[in-house]
């Protein structure tokens, strides 16, 4: 007999984790859609975002004695982390990827690997190997939230899910309805043709990097609030899982990334709950392999025609 309490709790955990992965996956998918580049440094941008959030938290008095109202504090953490991470993403594009845009495919990948490693160890130098804590429990009362029968969602989880959904709605609006979104879609469809139609491709790429990195920064703050700990190596596994989510959803597809993120989050939560928390990475990895071999275009991706 299934214990519904546990099942519902795992589902809630999976959904929160999934919305985090979805935000990271969006970054991979957007950059890949436009540049056909796997941005290895994306996970580390997420890590830097989490550290920026921590910095804002400390600058505004710390979690125990904040100098501004808590709601404002959290908004400020998100805002600064998103802008900071976005700026970092733009800098990475400008200095590590743009010069290599016409190089053989392996060159930007190695450059990305270098950036990722550089960021990771710079964080290690600047913040040392200690875990930093957001101390969310003193910031947001862990008892508050929805408690109805078997359903228990703490306020932090509600906050994370709502913010993630809001960001995704905003992104969808941006891509579907605005001039910039149109330019992004055109560029990802065919970069040369877009340039010939008068689209400033460089500007579109910069905007894409800014948006995708800002989403990663927001995800970083969310993970800080959720798990209450920040450290220099957190971007590595999160990046791998975000990428898996993007592949499962179909790389290049925005709704796919959202869906894939939720799917990976749920898979991880259930496997941690019912199978083994040590080998949950192995399970995510198996999902990735299965998808790559059986359906490389993912759930939502269109079968790409290879032009020669």
């Amino acid at each position: 007999m299934i214990d519904w309490n546990v099942f519902v709790q795992l589902t809630v955990n999976g959904l929160t984790l999934g919305s985090l992965y979805a935000l990271i996956a969006l970054g991979y998918t957007m950059v890949y859609g436009i540049l056909k580049l796997l941005n290895f440094a994306h996970g580390d941008v997420y890590m830097i975002g989490a550290f920026i959030g921590y910095g804002v938290l400390q600058a505004l008095g710390g979690p125990l004695d904040p100098s501004v109202p808590v709601a404002l504090l959290i908004v400020a953490m998100f805002a600064v982390a998103m802008v900071g991470a976005g700026g970092l993403g733009v800098a990475i594009e400008r200095f590590a990827y743009r010069p290599l845009r016409n190089a053989p495919r392996i060159a930007p990948l190695i450059s990305a690997l270098g950036v990722s490693f550089f960021l990771q160890n710079s964080a290690l130098l600047l913040f040392s190997a200690n875990f930093r804590s957001y101390e969310t429990f003193s910031l947001i009362d862990p008892i508050k939230g929805i408690h109805e029968g078997v359903l228990n969602i703490s306020l932090v989880r509600i906050l994370v899910i709502v913010t993630a959904v809001a960001l995704m709605v905003l992104l969808t609006f941006l891509v579907r309805r605005t001039q910039l979104g149109k330019a992004m879609r055109a560029t990802s469809f065919d970069r040369e043709a877009a340039a010939m139609m008068g689209i400033d491709v460089d500007r579109v790429i910069v905007a894409t990097f800014f948006i995708s990195s800002a989403l990663a920064g927001a995800a970083g703050v969310m993970s800080g609030l959720l798990f209450s700990q920040v450290y220099h190596f957190m971007g590595f596994t999160a990046g791998l899982k975000g990428f898996t989510a993007a592949v499962v959803g179909g790389i290049g597809s925005i709704p796919g990334a959202m869906f894939g993120g939720i799917l990976i989050g749920l898979a991880e939560a259930y496997s941690a709950g019912y199978l083994s928390s040590v080998y949950q990475d192995l399970i995510v990895f198996s999902i990735l392999i299965a998808f790559m071999l059986a359906r490389p275009t993912g759930l939502f991706g269109a079968r790409a025609l290879q032009k020669v």
Partner: protein, 484 residues
């Protein structure tokens, strides 16, 4: 709009549409007699000379430390040669490479330690391990049949992650039908007490003996690879790297070649792993992690992916430099040496060089005097070491009494300044170069020098990015030529 790629008329950039070899014909004719003579030495001659020189090392130096560094360097050369097969020749980005090295080391350790009380002689173990690694490489190569570069990279990276997870947790594996948990890998504690190499009853014990063993293996591997490089397979690999579709049209068996590359590189890594495990008389999960992967990549890229001599050179340069970084006085020599050498190499004519160096020295001393007069707190700290450079530096670089916080801020500023410097052109670049170099020295003395283990990793990451942008062919590799 400034662009980082050199303009089309820049002589450093191979022009599109012309073959590089044809293009540089005149240049070759102008070479000095010495240069031509160097060019005529066959590669076997270079190898023989190199091995002879290397073999002299343990005879010249009595220090255990030097020989130890020598063995480590040879192990890295072997690893870089193995990675070169799959990355440099076949052009596949394999980020799980270190897992094969680890697998080889662990498998060797299991077959020759008290873990399961198996103590097989090395002439039996080594072939078994190597073949097992080759098979594992074949297995990981299977997805490469269907996956393009980036997907393959992430799958292999995940594979490494899984390898580390499994090895760290396989100390209590439940095996069906046995009934009790089996300790395979010792978990986080690893497997200590691995037997030393034992070839045909002759036991290899001292570091010096390991040095010659590793050197022998190196000679065998590099000769095999050199023969392979010129063979049909080697040429097919390079064709595959340049354009898989064109290669397939030329009826090259693309999939089989990809698998062969994976398998051979895994076998090389596994073979190296056996030496590593017995040399260190133990294996631990932390030995086979991401930093090692980046180190080997940096070696291959720095030397020049695809070039055997380049890869060996890359391994020597990087391993010796990293080793030097662990000692503060050596690290300082290395830091200022590298800056000086690269200034000499890049700045022409010599008047510019003199201007920058003179400006740098004056700038430092002037700033030091001014700041010292304003507040002595900024010069109260002391640098490490006490040799002549240390004393010179003490009067030149600001050394605050509490360097951590200001050092961190300066580090972030330095990264931003170096990036900004790449955007500036002409005479302003020279002008800005002086304060940026001074800032670099400041950060080095106050922050980086005291944390060598982090610094080396930061430098490796930065090196990869810088090389890919400035000189993707590395030191000895040949530039890719676009023939359109």
């Amino acid at each position: 709009m400034t662009d980082l790629t050199p303009p089309p008329d820049d002589p450093a950039r191979p022009s599109i549409g012309t073959d590089e070899w044809v293009e540089r014909h005149d240049e070759r004719l102008q070479e000095t007699r010495f240069g031509q003579a160097v060019g005529r030495v066959p590669s076997a001659g270079w190898l023989a000379g190199f091995v002879l020189l290397a073999a002299l090392l343990p005879l010249v130096s009595d220090s255990q430390y030097v020989i130890r560094v020598g063995v480590d360097t040879i192990i890295f050369m072997l690893l870089a040669l193995g990675l070169n097969i799959v990355v440099g020749w076949a052009g596949l980005l394999d980020l799980g490479y270190v897992a094969f090295f680890g697998f080889g080391a662990y498998f060797y350790a299991i077959l020759s330690s008290d873990q399961f009380d198996i103590h097989w002689p090395s002439e039996v173990t080594v072939p078994i391990v190597t073949v097992a690694c080759a098979l594992l490489g074949l297995l990981l190569g299977l997805p490469s049949r269907r996956l393009l570069g980036d997907y393959l990279a992430i799958v292999t990276l995940f594979f490494l992650q899984i390898f580390i997870t499994v090895v760290t947790n396989a100390d209590r594996l439940e095996i069906p039908f046995i009934g009790h948990a089996v300790n395979f890998t010792g978990g986080p504690n690893g497997i200590p007490g691995v037997d030393s190499f034992d070839v045909l009853g002759y036991e290899i014990e001292s570091v010096r003996q390991y040095f010659y063993l590793a050197l022998g293996v190196f000679v065998v591997v590099i000769v095999a690879l050199a023969l392979l490089s010129d063979s049909r397979t080697g040429r097919a690999w390079r064709a595959l790297r340049e354009d898989p579709q064109a290669a397939e049209l030329m009826s090259i068996p693309v999939n089989r070649l990809k698998l062969a590359a994976f398998s051979l590189s895994a076998a090389t890594a596994g073979l190296t792993g056996t030496i590593f495990a017995s040399l260190h008389t133990g294996v631990f999960p932390t030995d086979f992690d991401l930093p090692l992967l980046i180190t080997i990549y940096a070696m291959v890229i720095l030397g020049g992916a695809g070039s055997l001599a380049g890869v060996v050179l890359g391994a020597i340069v990087i391993n010796v430099s990293l080793e030097a970084l662990t000692d503060p006085e050596h690290a300082r020599w290395l830091f200022y040496g590298v800056i000086l050498v690269s200034l000499v190499a890049v700045l022409r004519p010599w008047r510019r060089l003199a201007a920058v160096l003179g400006g740098l020295v004056l700038f430092g001393f002037a700033l030091h005097v001014i700041v010292d007069a304003a507040s002595s707190r900024w010069t109260a700290g002391a640098g490490a070491g006490n040799d002549i450079v240390a004393r010179a530096v003490d009067g030149w670089v600001l050394l605050p009494s509490d360097p951590t916080r200001i050092g961190n801020i300066a580090y972030v500023g330095l990264v931003a300044a170096v990036l900004a410097l790449t955007l500036v052109r002409g005479v302003w670049r020279l002008v800005f170069l002086v304060p940026v170099l001074y800032l670099a020295a400041f950060v080095w003395e106050n922050r980086l020098a005291e944390q060598p283990s982090v610094t080396r990793l930061i430098l490796l990451g930065a090196l990869l990015v810088a090389l890919m942008n400035a000189r993707p062919q590395g030191l000895l590799g040949s530039a890719r030529v676009e023939i359109v």
